[in-house]
């Protein structure tokens, strides 16, 4: 049978949690109405020893989710934040030490101003209000991207959040805002060029390790994602973590981002654990 790409989540209908606010995402019972309550256990389908160390997510589909419900895009983005909170909670308790999310691409500046302004204020609000949750879940936040374009109040909120969570160690949340993979490499190149100009380095010293060290993801212990998940069925990388994705397993989920819950994450992780990663060599 012809398959366009493997594997794709077959979930097309809205998540049950849209209709049952008190139930947890994916339909599993929780003691409290909040999906963040309790400590979610690792499903038996997943092997603890084969969990990815770094999961990256392109959170695509918020606007489409809102459109399908006759809501403005802002409602889609708010729903997307709930998905992110839940994903972060799961990563924190399932032993995934690094989660990177593509919140705002450098191309997204071309969106309507009202939507961009809303997103900037949403980011600021979420960062400020989630600090207690970050402390509880041991989340260390790190924001990557061209911060010069961000409103100064958001820049300050980011700086404060990074400073106040720097000692947290359970899971690192890397949020890419105003980011592009190509921009990351260009800024790495500029840093290297400055060092060459200053005589700290010779041109002949430039190698892969040097480029990697200057990338923005060098803030992480595991800078290279093992698994990239993109929601909403789109089959492309869209300028996200270009260098870092060289050997990442790609998983394309059909679900729109606000519908991406525990079941979808389990499906992605099961797929990941079944794959053979060879890095260009041979397995035998």
């Amino acid at each position: 049978m012809l398959r366009l790409s493997l594997p794709i989540s077959t979930r097309l209908s809205p998540s049950p949690r849209e209709k049952q606010d008190d139930a947890s995402p994916g339909g599993l019972p929780y003691a409290h109405s909040s999906p963040l309550a309790g400590k979610p256990r690792l499903p038996s389908l997943l092997l603890p020893g084969l969990m990815p160390r770094h999961v990256a997510v392109i959170m695509d589909g918020n606007a489409r989710w809102a459109l399908r419900r006759g809501l403005p895009p802002s409602a889609g983005h708010e729903a997307g934040v709930r998905s992110l909170r839940h994903l972060l909670h799961l990563c924190s308790h399932w032993g995934i030490p690094v989660l990177t999310v593509f919140a705002f691409s450098s191309d997204n500046w071309y969106r309507p101003k009202a939507e961009v302004d809303f997103l900037m204020s949403l980011f600021e609000r979420v960062i400020r209000t989630e600090l207690d949750n970050f402390a509880r879940d041991g989340v260390k936040i790190c924001v990557i991207g061209d911060s010069s374009k961000l409103p100064s109040s958001l820049q300050k909120a980011i700086a404060y959040a990074e400073e106040s969570t720097i000692r947290n160690s359970r899971v690192q949340l890397i949020v890419a805002i105003s980011y592009s993979g190509k921009y990351d490499i260009v800024q790495s190149c500029r840093s290297i060029a400055q060092k060459v100009k200053d005589g700290v380095l010779q041109v002949e010293d430039i190698d892969e390790k040097l480029v990697e060290q200057e990338l923005e993801t060098s803030c992480s212990k595991y800078p290279y994602p093992d698994l990239l998940i993109r929601t909403s069925g789109e089959l492309r990388v869209s300028n996200f973590l270009l260098w870092q994705l060289a050997y990442a397993e790609l998983f394309f989920a059909q679900a729109l981002w606000p519908d991406f819950g525990e079941a979808e994450l389990v499906e992605a992780l099961v797929s990941y654990q079944q794959r053979h990663r060879r890095y260009g060599t041979r397995s035998s």
Partner: protein, 346 residues
């Protein structure tokens, strides 16, 4: 009996040709991708499946490549890029690496002697760090590139001894080298000895003038062209005995301006890095197809496939056919307007 059998074969062949032409007609109703890239994965698994030796799996892979190339060029695709051998593949067993190198040389010779390249007017490029290849392979590759340099109807880019990391590092090195050279040129021309104290009388001239009393005179156009710097036009200053040149398009810079230029010339931009990529000879791929069902990029065209739709049919490379190609092209056509918009924004 034999007559019946040959009639059936002819009928089947005619039916197959008819179906192929029909598929082409359907695809050609929409936009055809200009550039398709392939990760040719699965040769060894194919050999194992058919109880063959690994080398025969790679030979079957080559036959499959020719078939796919035929389809692509008949469809109107101009550029095809294939991932033949990664730098990481050098870590495989030496015997397998040697087999692949020998196969590459044999197939290059076969292509040059045959009619396939001239049939479609294909220009060959071997993309990668060719210095890592053995001399025999490298010479064969250079010979093939030289022999097909005059072709222009279609292009086949064969990535060998290639990884995106190596390509990007090379581009970064060249960009840094270019910046360093520019900075040194500015310094050199500023520090060169004064001749007779006069500005060269060259309106829009080709040479930079010498320093005179802390000033340099340039043809504005030439300076901008050679240094790609953004500099403000200074007010015209004294030159040649103090006479102000009016109505002259020369740019007279003060010493301090030179220092400033040196500091900010040139800032490395995205286009500088792109210019130094091995793959700068071709536009970005419109589709990336990886056979064998694996969904990862494996250090292939990371820079160039940022907006390319990805397709990963489950078939092994020697089994890939028109169906898989057609499916990928249909996927491209479905997303065409969105991708074009994103490319323009980028």
């Amino acid at each position: 009996m034999e007559k019946q059998s040959s009639t059936r074969v002819l009928l089947f062949s005619s039916l197959r040709d008819f179906m192929r032409r029909s598929i082409f007609c359907i695809l050609m109703a929409g936009p055809i991708p200009n550039h398709i890239a392939f990760i040719m994965d699965g040769n060894r698994r194919f050999a194992k499946k058919r109880h063959m030796v690994v080398g025969d799996g790679h030979k079957a892979g080559f036959e499959s490549l020719i078939t796919i190339l035929n389809y692509c060029y008949q469809l109107g695709v101009k550029y095809v890029t294939v991932y033949a051998f990664s730098i990481e593949n050098f870590k495989r067993k030496p015997e397998e690496v040697q087999q692949l190198m020998d196969l590459m040389v044999d197939k290059i010779d076969e292509l040059l002697e045959g009619s396939f390249l001239s049939k479609y007017g294909i220009r060959l490029y071997f993309i990668g760090n060719l210095g890592l290849l053995g001399e025999r392979v490298r010479l064969a590759a250079e010979k093939a590139m030289k022999a097909t340099a005059g072709n222009s109807r279609a292009v086949l880019l064969i990535c060998v001894a290639y990884t995106s990391y190596d390509e990007i590092v090379h581009a970064v090195e060249e960009s840094c080298r270019e910046k360093l050279n520019c900075t040194e040129q500015i310094t050199e021309s500023f520090n060169s000895p004064t001749e007779n104290g006069h500005c060269l009388d060259e309106y829009g001239g080709k040479k930079l003038t010498q320093k005179e009393n802390g000033y340099m005179s340039h043809s504005l156009e030439e300076f901008r062209e050679s240094h790609s710097c953004e500099i403000e036009e200074a007010t015209s200053l004294v030159c040649n005995g103090g006479t102000e040149r009016s109505g002259d398009a020369r740019l007279i810079l003060r010493t301090s301006d030179i220092t400033e230029d040196r500091e900010k010339c040139p800032v490395i931009k995205l286009v500088d890095i792109e210019r130094h990529m091995y793959m700068a000879v071709a536009p970005d791929p419109d589709i990336l197809i990886r056979s064998s069902g694996e969904t990862r990029l494996s250090n292939f065209l990371l820079w160039q496939t940022t907006f390319s739709p990805l397709s990963s049919p489950a078939v092994l490379w020697p089994e890939i056919g028109l169906w898989q190609l057609a499916w990928a092209v249909l996927g491209y056509q479905r997303n065409y307007s969105y991708i074009q918009k994103k490319r323009k924004q980028a």
